[in-house]
Symmetry: C2
Subunit: 264 residues, 2 copies
């Protein structure tokens, strides 16, 4: 072992961005490089491209509370711990799980300094691959009903679509949640025309990235899986005819109900 044990332990929850080394901030890369222990979902630990001989504590995707407590215990024992998330650690990721553990066990980890280091979020990365679909007011919603009731999700989709937000969807589907994404498109479709632009991105930032611009009517729900992120346009989101994918979609900064596709 060449890693040093820090005299006073500490913990950072970091986001390495959505897969691409060029999207990991220097702050996060430095913290990973100096860590003695990396904790996280095994898939994300495998994406860490920073040179480090830190000990890696990989675990399954569904044990966030247990993983957070174990990471805090390591820090309490004097280790320099980094909890690794993909994207931004504050969005449907480990930062909330770690702070929740602090809340549930008052006093237990009082002496452990805990920092959250922000990252490039998956929705922003996906948006950047096609231009600027998040250029106006938007909502970010997880479709997972593992930790919240489905009717809360439907209510939020309905409110967001009704108020004409752009909508970014995380965790659109999984093996155990096969129908939710299709139902979400139905709810949104009550407020949007069938030609509303949608951006569908799988493995954004990784070598096998696949990004498509489709519409609410042409989106193939069967092609969506848990490694996919989705953005659904507002009534003003535009696809620019003839442009390459990277600069083909935007939501204008202005908003004019009487002429959504006209000039400002």
């Amino acid at each position: 072992m060449t890693t040093a044990i820090a005299k006073v332990g500490r913990l950072a929850v970091v986001g390495i961005g959505p897969g691409r080394l060029g999207w990991c901030t220097p702050e996060v890369a430095d913290r990973i490089a100096s860590a003695t222990d990396l904790v996280g979902y095994t898939t994300y630990l495998d994406l860490v491209a920073v040179a480090t001989d830190a000990r890696r504590h990989g675990s399954d995707n569904r044990v966030e509370a247990k993983r957070a407590a174990a990471a805090l215990d390591l820090a309490a024992a004097g280790r320099d711990v980094v909890v690794v998330s993909s994207g931004d650690p504050g969005v449907f990721a480990m930062a909330s799980a770690v702070v929740e553990q602090l809340d549930r066990s008052p006093g237990k980890w009082d002496h452990v300094p805990v920092d959250v280091l922000p990252g490039v979020s998956a929705a922003h990365a996906l948006a950047s691959r096609v231009g600027a679909p998040l250029g106006h007011d938007f909502c970010t919603i997880s479709l997972s009903d593992v930790l919240k009731p489905w009717d809360v999700i439907e209510r939020r989709l309905d409110a967001a679509a009704g108020a004409d937000f752009v909508i970014a969807l995380y965790n659109p589907t999984s093996r155990h949640r096969p129908w939710q994404f299709g139902r979400a498109l139905e709810v949104i479709g009550e407020h949007r025309t069938p030609d509303t632009p949608m951006i569908v991105g799988r493995d954004v930032g990784r070598p096998d990235e696949h990004v498509q611009v489709v519409t609410l009517a042409t989106c193939e729900t069967a092609a969506i899986d848990m490694r996919t992120a989705v953005i659904i346009g507002s009534s003003t989101t535009r696809v620019v005819p003839g442009r390459p994918l990277a600069s083909s979609v935007y939501t204008p900064r202005w908003y004019d109900r009487s002429a959504t596709h006209a000039t400002a």
Copy 2:
């Protein structure tokens, strides 16, 4: 002049993050380092800490369309142009303005490759300074009614608060928009208790950063200005008693209407 003129011009819209060098991605730093021309709001150009002898084209904050067209013209003339935004360039920033110009002048810049390089968004950076207030579904809303009618903003605030989203507010106020922020809190207050946590951050990531956790009732609207970003909690957002600021607020990943502050 030691800058080289690229044989084929190109344009990138980049976000340098919210001020701190450690939050600027390597992809963005590399693109700035190789640019011949940097275009942007003068305040943001002054924040560029990457070593470069590129020519700087600074302009006022309110000339986005003109700035975007000028940047495309430079790229069309063979220059390697980088349009600099703070935070993420796709969120209430220059990426939308550039793609809108492409849309408005079909054919004019067809041969110019345009890329958007994502960054750490201001809301995510602010969230990270206090823990994980964006850990559950959230909305991002600009309070500027320069480019959209105020009643659209009120409708969105009402929909977002009514569906119990966490709400991140950009452009909360300015010299020309003095009452909007106070009115926004009134609209949200129709759906939230007075003790709802709020995070108020000024100059996040810069040397004079000032971040506070307040409540809907105790927020001093007079202390808010255009360099401030604000996050307003949902009904489940919690402040952890006794924790330092950096790990003091979170919104749980779970949602239980019958016991918002109880265990999952």
